[in-house]
C-alpha cells in the first residue's frame, strides 16, 4: 500500500477544515473497510481517481456515531457502525427494512467496522474498476471494459458510458424509506433528500453522488413510516455472506384493503444509482395489489436495457419485485 497521512478529527468543523487544508487527495475515512482494505490496498487509481495521500478519520468524532429516535423519526450519525444500527431496538421496531438491508451487508466482521456513511459512499464493485490493470472511464481513462467484456453483474437500467451498479444495500433501503442526509462543508451544513443524492454516469462518471471532496456526510434522518404501511427487503446474492446484491428490492407499501395508495419500490444491483421503479409503482396506483402485481412487475422490462450477458437480471428483477411486494403485504 502507498504511504499516507492519517488525521483523527474530533469535531465536524475540524474534519471539514482538514479536508480543505490537505487538498484534493485527502479523503474521509470511516471504518476503512472499502477505502483502505479495498481501494488503497489494491492500488485502484487513475487520472480521475488519485490514491489518497491523507485520510481524515471521522469515527473519532463522538456526535457522529450516535443514534437517536424520537416521534419525528430517527437520526443516525454517519459514523455509526452497521452493527450498531442492527442492534438498535427502536430502529428495529420502526424501520425493519433498514435493519434487514443492513444485516444483509457483507459479514458481521465488516459490519462491526463499516459505518453507515462509508456504506453509502463506498466505491462501486465493477470488477474492471477494481482491477489495477483496467484504466476505465471511472478512473479517468477512455474506455468501458464492461461493454465488450464480461458484464453479467452490470447495470440493466440507466447505464451510459459506465455501467456500474450501485453497491450499497443501505442506500437502496434509504431511498425507499424517503430518508435524508446532512452534508457538512466549508459553507456549513445542508440537508439533502437521498432522492437527490445519487448521480448517474451521465452527470459525472467519476462520482456516484453529489458529495464534493471537501464535504462529508454527518447524519442520516429517517421519517416515521406512514400508517397502513408495510415494508419488505429481498436481496438475491450468489453467496449468503460476503456478497453484493445481484438484484435487491426494497418495497414500502401503503395500502388500503389491498389497494395501492402510496409507496416506493427501489431496486439495488440494477443501475448506477439505487433505482426507483416508478413504472411499477405507477402501474399499481389505485389498484388491487395482489391482482395486478404480476403485470405491474412486468413493466420493469419497459425500462430495462440489458447488456450482452445480463438479460437474466431483468427476469430476476421482475420476479423479485413481485415477491417483495407480496412479502410486504403478507
Amino acid at each position: 500500500m502507498k504511504t499516507f497521512e492519517l488525521h483523527d478529527a474530533t469535531t465536524v468543523q475540524q474534519a471539514v477544515t482538514l479536508l480543505g487544508q490537505l487538498g484534493p487527495t485527502a479523503k474521509v475515512l470511516g471504518g476503512g473497510s472499502d477505502l483502505i482494505s479495498g481501494v488503497m490496498k489494491d492500488w485502484i487509481q487513475g487520472k480521475g481517481m488519485p490514491l489518497p495521500s491523507a485520510l481524515v478519520d471521522i469515527t473519532t468524532i463522538p456526535q457522529m456515531t450516535t443514534i437517536q429516535v424520537s416521534g419525528s423519526g430517527a437520526r443516525i450519525g454517519a459514523a455509526a457502525t452497521l452493527t450498531s444500527i442492527i442492534e438498535h431496538q427502536e430502529i428495529r421496531r420502526g424501520w425493519p427494512l433498514l435493519v434487514d438491508a443492513t444485516e444483509s451487508v457483507a459479514s458481521p466482521l465488516i459490519r462491526n467496522f463499516g459505518t453507515l456513511g462509508g456504506n453509502i459512499n463506498q466505491r462501486p464493485r465493477c470488477w474492471f474498476l477494481r482491477g489495477e490493470k483496467f484504466d476505465c472511464y471511472k478512473k479517468g481513462g477512455d474506455f468501458c471494459f464492461a461493454v465488450t467484456g464480461d458484464n453479467r453483474y452490470h447495470a440493466i437500467i440507466g447505464g451510459e458510458l459506465c455501467y456500474i451498479v450501485h453497491p450499497s444495500d443501505t442506500a437502496t433501503a434509504l431511498v425507499a424509506l424517503s430518508a435524508k442526509t446532512k452534508i457538512a462543508g466549508p459553507q456549513g451544513e445542508r440537508e439533502v433528500a437521498f432522492d437527490e443524492y445519487f448521480i448517474g454516469p451521465r452527470t459525472d462518471v467519476l462520482r456516484e453522488n453529489i458529495l464534493q471532496q471537501n464535504e462529508l456526510m454527518t447524519e442520516v434522518s429517517l421519517p416515521p413510516l406512514a400508517s397502513n404501511t408495510k415494508t419488505a427487503w429481498i436481496k438475491l446474492k450468489d453467496r449468503q455472506v460476503y456478497d453484493f446484491a445481484l438484484v435487491s428490492v426494497a418495497a414500502v407499501v401503503t395500502s388500503e384493503n389491498g389497494v395501492w395508495r402510496d409507496g416506493r419500490i427501489v431496486l439495488g444491483g440494477v443501475s448506477p444509482v439505487p433505482y426507483r421503479a416508478k413504472v411499477v409503482e405507477d402501474a399499481l396506483q389505485g389498484k388491487d395489489i395482489r391482482a395486478n402485481i404480476t403485470a405491474a412487475a412486468g413493466a420493469i422490462r419497459s425500462v430495462a436495457r440489458p447488456m450482452s450477458a445480463n438479460s437474466y437480471k431483468v427476469d430476476i428483477a421482475q420476479g423479485l419485485i413481485e415477491r417483495a411486494v407480496l412479502q410486504a403485504l403478507a
Binding site: R239, Q240, Y312, D315, I316
Partner: protein, 854 residues
Amino acid sequence: MPQRSIDAFKVLSDYEYAATLTNEEWLSLSGNPEYHTLIADDPSLAEELIARFGMLVPGFSAALAAAASVPLTGFGPTVNRLAGRGGGSAAPSNAEFSIVGTSVPRTHGFGVVTGVGRYSENQTLPNMLFMKTLGSPYPHARIRSIDTSKAEALPGVHYILHRFNLPEGYQDVSLGSGPPFRYLFNEELIQVGAPVAVVAADSDHIGDEAIRQIQVDYEVLPAVVDFMEGTRPSTPKQWDNRLDGTILTIASPFVRGDVERGFAEADIVIENVTSMSTIQHAALELTTDLTWWSTEGARPQLTQIGPKRHAHGARSAIAQALKVDQSQVRVITPGYLGMSFGSFRDTDLPEIHSALLSWLTGRPIRFMSTRSEDMVTRTHRTQTRNESKIGVKRDGSITAFFTKKYGNAGAYRGGGGTGNSLGLAELYTIPNLRQENIDVFTNMYRYGSYRCTTHPNDTLAREPLIERAAYAINMNPLDFRLRNLSEVGNPETRRPFSNPGIRDTITQTAAAIGWREKWHAPKTREVRPGVFHGIGMACHECNHGAGGAPSTGSVVINADGTLTVVSGAAEVGPGERTVMAMIAAETLGIPMNRTRISPDVDSDFTADTGVTAGSRQTLSGGWGIHLAALDARAQLLDWGARKFVDDARVAGQTIQVSADQLDVRDGLVSFKDDPERRLPIAQVIAFASNPIIGRGAHIHPPTWERVAFATHAAEVEVDTVTGTISVTKYVAAHDVGRALNRMATEQQIEGGVIVGLGLALTEQLLVDGATGIPINDNILDYKVPTIKDVPEKIDVIMVENAKEYGVFGAHGIGEPPAALGFSVMVNAVYNAVGVWVEDMPLTREKVLNALKGR
C-alpha cells in the same frame, strides 16, 4: 551428443520421445521434481511407462516387475467379491483394533482452531527483508528494457533482481518442461503475473511501492486466451510447434472394440458436451516462505520454511534450480497451514527468487503472495471441454462410449486436465470404447491438481450422459447404473479390484436419500410457486488413494516406553500426521497419549515418503510407518524375550522364551498365553540399553487395481424465478476400505462435498476475453461458498470393504469426495426443471437462460 533438458511431461505422454532417451537421461529423470509430481498425481502414467521401458524408468523395481509377472488369478465376474463384504478373509473387524477405526482428534488440532500453532506467517528472523514481485500486466509480451533507477532510489529498497542482472549461471535455469520455457525471468512473458523483477525491501509496503516505480518497456504480442482457439491451424504458434496453433499434445487414443460398430448396434445414441471452468484452491493462507542461507561449515546451506506439501520434493526442486547439491538445502514444512488442496504450493519461481535474493543481500527473505498472485500465477484446475457420445439398447445395455476431451494447460508445457477415464474403462461394462485427449497451451491460468486432477472431469464427461441415456430409454437411472456395473477390475490389464464396494455405495446412497420414493419424471414436482424439486446421482471411480513409492517411515521407542513417530508425510490439512501416529501406535500396542509426532516435516530429519498428493499418504507414509512399527515391534519382543529370560536367571530359574510367544498391548509386553506375565515397555528398553529404532520402506506390488469408489446423490430445489439451486439433502457414500480415523474420514468426505458443491455451483476464475487479464482474482468475486451456503446436513456413508493392499485395509480418501458434485448437480437440476445445463458452474444465468431457451 549435446546435453538436453528432459521434458518430464513429454516422457510420460509421448512414448516416441521417451524412446529417444539415453540411459543417462533416464537416470536424470529420477531427480526431476516435475516427474515425481506427475506420477504422484497419476500413478498409472508411470505404470504405462514401466510396461514399455522396464527398468530404465525411475520407480521401476525388480520386486515390482516380479510381482507383475505373476499371472493374475481371480479375475472374473464373481470371485473377487470377498465373502461377507466389509469383513473379507484379509479383513479383521474393527473390534480387533484398539486405535484404528476409532475417532481420534487431530494431534495438533488445538493449534489449528486457536491459531496459536506456528504457521509459516508466524516465522520471523531478525533482519529479514520482504520480497515483492512485479508481474507482467500482459498475457503475452516481450520486455524491451527495464529501468529500475527510480525504484532503487526509494529508501528501504535493498535489491532489485531481473532478467538482465541475474547472477552468472542462472540464465538457463527453467522450471518444468519447455518449450515454451519458464525461466527464472523470461524476456518473453507468457502469462499475466509472470515475474518481470523482484524487489527486496525493508517492508512489504515499501516493496509494493517500489515495484510500481520500475519502468518497463513492453512489446505486446498476440495471446491465446480461448483454449479452443488454440486448436486452430490459423492461431499463431508461440514456439516451433509441429501441431496446430498452440496444441501441446494429441494423446494416442484409448481403443477398446469398435465404437462405430457399437453405435450402429445401439437403439439410441446420445451426445453431449460438458465443460469445466478454471477453478482455484483459494486456500485461506497465502503462500508464504522464509528463506535464508547460513555459511557455517564448508559449504553454504539454504533453509526454506513454507506451507509445502512435500519437503523433499521442494528440496530437490530448489537444489536443481540453484545448481547446488540436495545436501545443501533444508526444507521445513510447518504442520500448521491453511490447506493445500493440490499442487499450487509446489516450488515455483518466487521460492527460487527468494533464495537468490537472500544470497545477494545476505539477509533472510520473507515472501508472502498477494491473493491475486496466489490465484493467478500458481496452478489451477483449468478449463476442459468434453464431447461425449453413448450408445444404448432399450434393454439397458451400453453398446459404445466415445469421448474427446480438450484441456487448457495454460501457460506451461504440461497436461491440461484431460486423460483416459478409468471410470469409463472399468466402472461400467462398455464393450466398445474410445477416448481421445488433446491438451492446449494458452497464455492463461496454468493447470495443476486441485483436489484431484483429471478425475472429476472424467466423471462429468460420463455421469450426466449415463443419466441422459437412462431417461432416453425410460429407465430409472439407479437401475441403469446397477445393470451396467462392472465389479471385476481392469479389462485391459486384467488387474482385479480388491473387495470392491461400488455396488454398496450405490445401494446405500439410494436407500439413504430415498431414491425409489423420490425420483420422478423431470419438472413434475413444484414445491412452491416457481420452485421445483429434483434428485440426481453420480458414481465415481479413480485411482487416487492407492499409495505408492516412496513409502517410508521410522519410529523410536524411547527409554520411558513412549513412542516417537518420524514421518516425511507433510500435513496438508486432513490429519495425515494424526493417522501416521495412529498406525504406529496401533501396530506397537502403545496408547495414543504416549505417542508423539511433530506437526512439521524437516527434510533434514526425515526420509522422503513422497508428496502429500493423489490421496496417497495414508497408504504411502502409512505403509512406511506400519512397517517401521512392525520392525520396532519385532525388536521390542526380542528384547522382551531376553528380559524375561534374564529376570528368570536373576531369580535363579532357567526358562526359554522366544519373541513369537509375546505380544505387546497398552504399553506392556506380555505372554500371549498368560497376559498376567508382563513387563512395561520402559523396562524392556532399559534392559536393551538403547532406544529401539524401527524403520520401514514399502514396495507397493501391482497385484490389484487400486481404486476409490463413490456414489453421491442430492435433492435440490430449483427456483425458476431466480435460478437459485438449493441443495436440501446430500448423501455421499465412499468405499474407504477401512476408516482408520473415523472422525477424520467423515470430515474429509463432508469437506469434499462442500468443495464439490462450490465448484459445481459458483466458483469460476475468469479473464477478460479481450485483454486476457483476470477479473475476479480475489475471494470476493471468486465465489467460494461460506458455511451459510452449504447443505445443513450431509449424510456420510463409509463403506468399509477392507482392501488387500491397504494399511489395515484402508484406501485413501483425500480427493474423491470433491469429484462428484458437478455431475450430481447437473443430474438433479435436470430432474427438477427438465433442462440439461452441463457447463460448469451451474450459475443462475445459465439455468435461467436454459429455461428461457436463450
